[in-house]
Symmetry: C2
Subunit: 267 residues, 2 copies
Amino acid sequence: MPLNLTSLGCASALPTKENFFTAHVLHVRGRSFLLDCGEGTQLRLKQLGISSGSIDRVFITHLHADHVFGLPGLLSSMHLLERKKPFYIHAPAGMEKMISFYFDFLGREDSSFPIVHEPVEGDGVFTVFEGDTVHVQAFPLYHGIPSYGYLFKEVPVRKSCPRSVAYCTDTAPFPELATWVKGVDLLFHEATYLDEDLEAAEKYKHSTARQAAQTALEAGVGTLLLGHFSSRYKDNSAFLEQAREVFPNTELSTEGCVFTVPRNENV
Amino acid sequence: MPLNLTSLGCASALPTKENFFTAHVLHVRGRSFLLDCGEGTQLRLKQLGISSGSIDRVFITHLHADHVFGLPGLLSSMHLLERKKPFYIHAPAGMEKMISFYFDFLGREDSSFPIVHEPVEGDGVFTVFEGDTVHVQAFPLYHGIPSYGYLFKEVPVRKSCPRSVAYCTDTAPFPELATWVKGVDLLFHEATYLDEDLEAAEKYKHSTARQAAQTALEAGVGTLLLGHFSSRYKDNSAFLEQAREVFPNTELSTEGCVFTVPRNENV
């Protein structure tokens, strides 16, 4: 069965006419996992016909507004839809403040379903979830506040070769990253800036498309998928050009599109 | 100069493929006022080319999720855009919890601009803002939690006849409402349900399209604009049909469209 990544939002800190805030859905053998939850996530889910009821877990990379402000609204809609099964929020410490706010602000003493915060904290690569279709590991990124990338490894059916997806946003480049995502079939990596704004990338601890490609090259990944584009650029094609000079097998995450993860032919 | 109301979202508690959560912008002689701020407000503003910098005030009817969960993200984007001038939030008590959450969650000690909560509380019709283009009054609605409608009266240029817009959502019908919005040029009124769901309207303290039209008729308004449609209906045209049986000069608020307020020819 295909392993798919649907993009709900490809913007960075500010939206554009085309791009909403960061959120993706990873589909693995009938299970859907939400990756980040920027404002508008539930609106895109609705537009794309993805039921929130099909999602049991969200993996939040960090607690900046553009990655999490869709969460209170999503929880509220799940409650109105009378969801019963638990919703698990894998997120760094601080998420409990958002959950408390959600209940306190709306004057709700209870939700129709359990909301479970699974705190993500650690060094190196550590396990955060072992499900029946995927095992998920986390690893620290380099972004000024506690930020984590996630590594999804398919639980193999019979003796098939399991596929893997790494999700890395937001981060500046750092040496260990290529080791941690070595050989994955798909590396989703932020590319907030182009070469001309390397200084801004360094200042705000983000990556350029070229830096993301350099990590992909060092890690020997199958495909590099770029997202989290700064709103300052009118045309995103330059991200692709600059990245492909370093790592030819690069694609752009495109909002509303389903990206089928190809196998890494290099490993 | 025209008096315009732009619809950013016409959904009620749950979004649809077409409709985002409730938010509108009232444009009065170069000034823009935001009415409610459901999730996705800043996304629609961006899509429609309305700069958040052109908006100095938001008038929040009540603190249900579908009317306010776009506010933290809007504040965050204004901060990133280095806004300097104050942003005024006219809203019932409880809004201070959202503002505290915004600062606490993001770990921001300060904002690039002052965020001013102007608490809205009172009986009957009372003044909440006197600007150079509009005077704004508020009045209680009937919705189970503290909810307020707003009445915008143009400050006349020379001896021209000032126009007026009333914004009423969410509410069940109640006798005083028609008196409070008497003769306005435009009445925006929620129409969450159709006749067939009158029981749900009563249970959740909402209105049917027909009830909204009855208020418009009693008040002798110029035009009735319906919004806040329940996601349970596949086609919104029945709202128009049922309302026009009572009040022919009814229109549907349409997302992304600018509605130019005609003068009330009946007064």
